[in-house]
């Protein structure tokens, strides 16, 4: 006798669930890391700190804000170096690794 009990995986609901987690959990944590790294650039003495930022940009930004935003369906939020001075700042200070703990995870 065939078993009529079946489970169907709801892909759309699963995607909505994980997207919500990225929005309310991961992005705020990534923003804490980005905010601290941006603060460190402002207090740095390196060349370029007074260079104007591109419109709507910050030196370090959460990836979903960037020019090529990740899709929330990728289920992750990242902090990226947007400007050249951010790239140099991170290479000089390892700001991203050093501030990673501010996200609250390991």
């Amino acid at each position: 006798m065939a078993n009529e009990n079946r489970l169907e995986f709801n892909e759309a609901a699963w995607d909505a669930l994980l997207t919500h987690v990225v929005d309310v959990w991961a992005e705020p944590k990534a923003e804490m890391i980005a905010a601290q790294a941006n603060q460190e650039i402002l207090s740095a003495t390196s060349d370029g700190r007074d260079d104007p930022l591109p419109a709507g940009k910050r030196d370090y930004m959460v990836s979903t804000e960037g020019s090529r935003p990740l899709q929330n369906g990728d289920y992750r939020a990242t902090v990226v170096t947007v400007t050249n001075r951010a790239k140099a700042h991170n290479a000089r200070t390892n700001a991203l690794v050093k501030n990673f703990h501010l996200g609250g995870g390991a």
Partner: protein
């Protein structure tokens, strides 16, 4: 001889010191292992920097995060040095008594040049989480 008091519950040795002591026994004698870049920088150098992290801990085990940077005479030699450091750290898991209980490489070795270095010398970097075993004094 002075007796230095230590916590009765044990303590964790400074992670860069543990890593330095371990690497000093493995790397060639002309590779300097330090916590900062000496002036002048030696041609073959490994630096270990402790950076903040969080994570579960208990009296016996706790996690530390280290950024390790390597320099050698060429890009290829620098890359090989970084890979050897990575390998020796993994080896360290299996050597009782060195304070290293586990190693997770969270940032694999890669070239990460210093923008402030006028010589543009190749610099490789890896980032590791080290599960430390506490030191106890009987």
């Amino acid at each position: 001889m002075a007796i230095v008091p230590v916590p009765t519950t044990g303590y964790f040795e400074y992670c860069p010191l543990v890593v330095k002591n371990h690497l000093d026994t493995k790397l060639p004698s002309d590779v300097v292992v330090a916590t900062k870049v000496p002036d002048p920088r030696p041609p073959r150098l490994v630096t270990i920097e402790s950076v903040p992290t969080s994570g579960d801990m208990n009296l016996a085990l706790s996690q530390r995060r280290c950024i390790i940077q390597c320099w050698d005479r060429s890009e290829i030699l620098t890359g090989r040095l970084a890979e050897k450091v990575r390998g020796y750290l993994i080896d360290g898991i299996y050597q009782p008594g060195n304070g290293i209980r586990d190693v997770i490489v969270i940032g694999e070795p890669g070239m990460f040049p210093d923008p402030d270095d006028p010589t543009n010398a190749p610099r490789a970097q890896l980032t590791v989480d080290i599960l430390m075993r506490a030191t106890y004094v009987a």
